[in-house]
């Protein structure tokens, strides 16, 4: 069993509005899974179904080999996008309460809270009320509450919003640390650079349908267009560009260099090999820059969603 979570043909309608249409996806155990999609695509509905907040109209969800049931609540830690804490309750009391709701005993919850509060250096907030804390501080408490019961599956919806770069980094490291300790993470965000950095797998949902999923590397491989970004030092830029344009598909490229080089994106056909291009280029000019263009998640997102629409 290498998949922690399997979503099979899940559909959900709200009246005449379809929030999810026959969506299936698998989340491998121990991975960080990026759940992407434009606003209103149906991500939150899917996450809520996994959390048993809403029930799917059709389809099944399998968690760790078992059909989703009430007992699974303690196996999931969920940090919703719309999140908050009781404003007038003390940090410690509140964290204890929420931990107990997840099935921890009071003593155990207290022990783990002490560990986490020390780890994130928020131990002296225990008796403060949430309304006395800043947004970022409250978010830290919220993060601790989400992971405290050591769930198998962690679901983070925009986990970094409200954090300064230092704390965002701290949380990112904690997420990676949790993964090392065996947790599987579903990660929903609009910040593509963090997807790039963290995710092993992604799924893209648009207008209630899944339109793309797979290992991030494979998705990228699928989307790369055999295009190379080159920088060439030559005496006459225009002559060389003309010559190359006759042989390849050429577009101007934009990147920063020290000299006034000729910068081009050169697209190869499927049969042409990069070495052939490189060999050809070395005969014409001094090659200062030669990089295969790998599409960013951002590009893939925009391109796929645009094509889908």
């Amino acid at each position: 069993m290498s998949n922690l979570l399997e979503v099979n043909n899940v559909s959900k309608n709200f009246g005449s509005f379809t929030a999810l249409n026959n969506v299936s996806l698998t989340v491998p155990k121990g991975s960080i899974f990026g759940l992407l999609g434009p606003n209103g695509a149906g991500k939150t509905t899917l996450i809520r179904i996994i959390n048993q907040i809403t029930m799917p109209d059709t389809g099944t969800v399998i968690l760790d080999g078992e059909s989703l049931k009430e007992n699974h609540i303690k196996d999931i830690g969920y940090l919703p996008e719309e999140r908050g804490l009781y404003k007038s309750m003390k940090v410690g009391e509140q964290a204890l309460y929420l931990a107990q709701l997840k099935g921890l005993s009071k003593a155990e919850a207290k022990k783990r809270l002490n560990y986490w509060f020390d780890r994130l250096e928020i131990g002296d907030w225990w008796n403060k009320k949430i309304q006395e804390l800043s947004k970022g501080m409250a978010q830290k408490v919220q993060f601790v509450v989400t992971v405290l019961h050591n769930p198998k599956l962690l679901i983070f919806d925009e986990p970094f919003s409200g954090f300064d770069p230092i704390n965002a980094n701290l949380i990112k490291d904690e997420i990676l640390h949790l993964r090392e300790n065996g947790a599987t993470v579903i990660f929903s965000t609009h910040r593509m650079e963090s997807v790039e950095e963290l995710c092993d797998d992604i799924a893209l949902i648009n207008k209630s349908n899944k339109i793309l999923d797979g290992k991030l590397t494979e998705v990228k491989r699928k989307f790369k267009s055999n295009t190379f970004e080159v920088g060439l030092r030559t005496l006459n830029n225009e002559v060389l560009e003309k010559e190359l344009a006759e042989k390849f598909t050429v577009n101007p490229a934009y990147f920063k260099t020290l000299d006034n080089e000729l910068k081009l994106n050169i697209k190869l056909s499927e049969t042409e090999k990069p070495n052939e291009l490189l060999n050809f280029l070395t005969t014409k000019a001094e090659v200062s820059h030669f990089v295969e263009l790998i599409p960013s998640v951002n590009d893939i997102f925009i391109q796929t969603v645009k094509n889908n629409n």
Partner: protein, 436 residues
Amino acid sequence: MNHLPLIIKREYLTKVKNKAFIVMTILSPIIMIVLISVVAYLAQLNNDKVRTIMVLDQSGYLNNTFKNTDNTTYNVLTNMELSDAKTLTQEASAYGLLHVEKFNDINNVSQHVKFYSDESPSLSLISGIESKLEKHFTNQVLQDKGVNVALINESKIQVDVAQESFQGEKTSKVDSVIKLIFGGASGYLLFMFIIIYGNMIMRSVIEEKTSRIIEVIISSVKPVQLMLGKIIGTSLAGITQFVIWLVFGGLLMTVVSLVLGIDLMQSTPQQELVEMAAQNNDAQNYFIALKEGLSHMPLINLIIAFVFFFIGGYLLYSSLYAAIGAAVDNETDTQQFMMPIIMPLILAVYIGIFTVIEDPHGTISTVFSYIPLTSPVVMLMRIPFGVPIWQQVLSLFILIATFMLTVWFAAKIYRVGILMYGKKPSYKELLKWIKY
């Protein structure tokens, strides 16, 4: 996993530890007692004030008709013109001037009597004067026709009808008043409780929405559990507050009435009612009647019914309040949904006050003591007058059935509503939510 006890505990503790709650718990009885004391004191003051009324009698009929009382002094003026009498009255800053002109026909005496005063006199003052004059002139006419007035007065016979049911239960007018007080008090108590603590539940649901904690919570517990926990926890806090109010208020009242020497109870209308009903009995009989009245009440029935109808009625309404809280984002949006809740509640109290008292077992009273939204209040008011057990059970059964239905319906709205932000829903949308 059953988290209900945990949720109840949290709801209870947060309510009870809340500063505003503590302040209100302590301050309310104090404010109440201060208000009652002020009213009682003023009433006493008012009673102590002596009014002077000038009487100008030009007819010559009124000898010794107006006897001075504790708070009214009558000054009879003689041999004076009306204008002089008016000036005199104003100069003496007396309350008013009663003028009886000289007349020929005693049957038209109304046309010759006038009362002058700065402010318009109270109804009771005028009717007091009227009844005195009527009595006087009637006696005058009787005397003129050769009837012995003293004989008539001696022959007056007073009748008190003793009431007894076919089952042998004795009742009296005092009984009825006591029943009224018990019924009214329990009905009104329920009404107040629903309004105060129903609102509290609603606010606490809204708070969870505005603080955005709701999604965190319901990823751990079922919305229905959260809703029930909220209702029960808040109710327990409410009961705590009520008990403190009763005990603390009672103590304060005793202390205040002992220290200031003001009889606070004297000013309450119930007391007057009891006295009115018992006015024909002397003091000793009055207390006997009171005791008997209490023993005639179906006390055990009343207590059991009170507990059940109170809980049933309160839970029914509070689940509706919870649903409203879930449907909106902030308190100002609650208005349009409050109407359908408040209306039956007020209706129930009005029916209780106007219909049940008049005719406790009439059609209207009976029907409304079955309709679930009004039945708790109306039935509680009816029970002291003796309602057959099967009727109570039937009404309770309807109430519980409705409560279950309402909880189901409220839970549906709650489940969807707590995750809806921004837009204020219409009734149509609420119906749609139930189908989700």
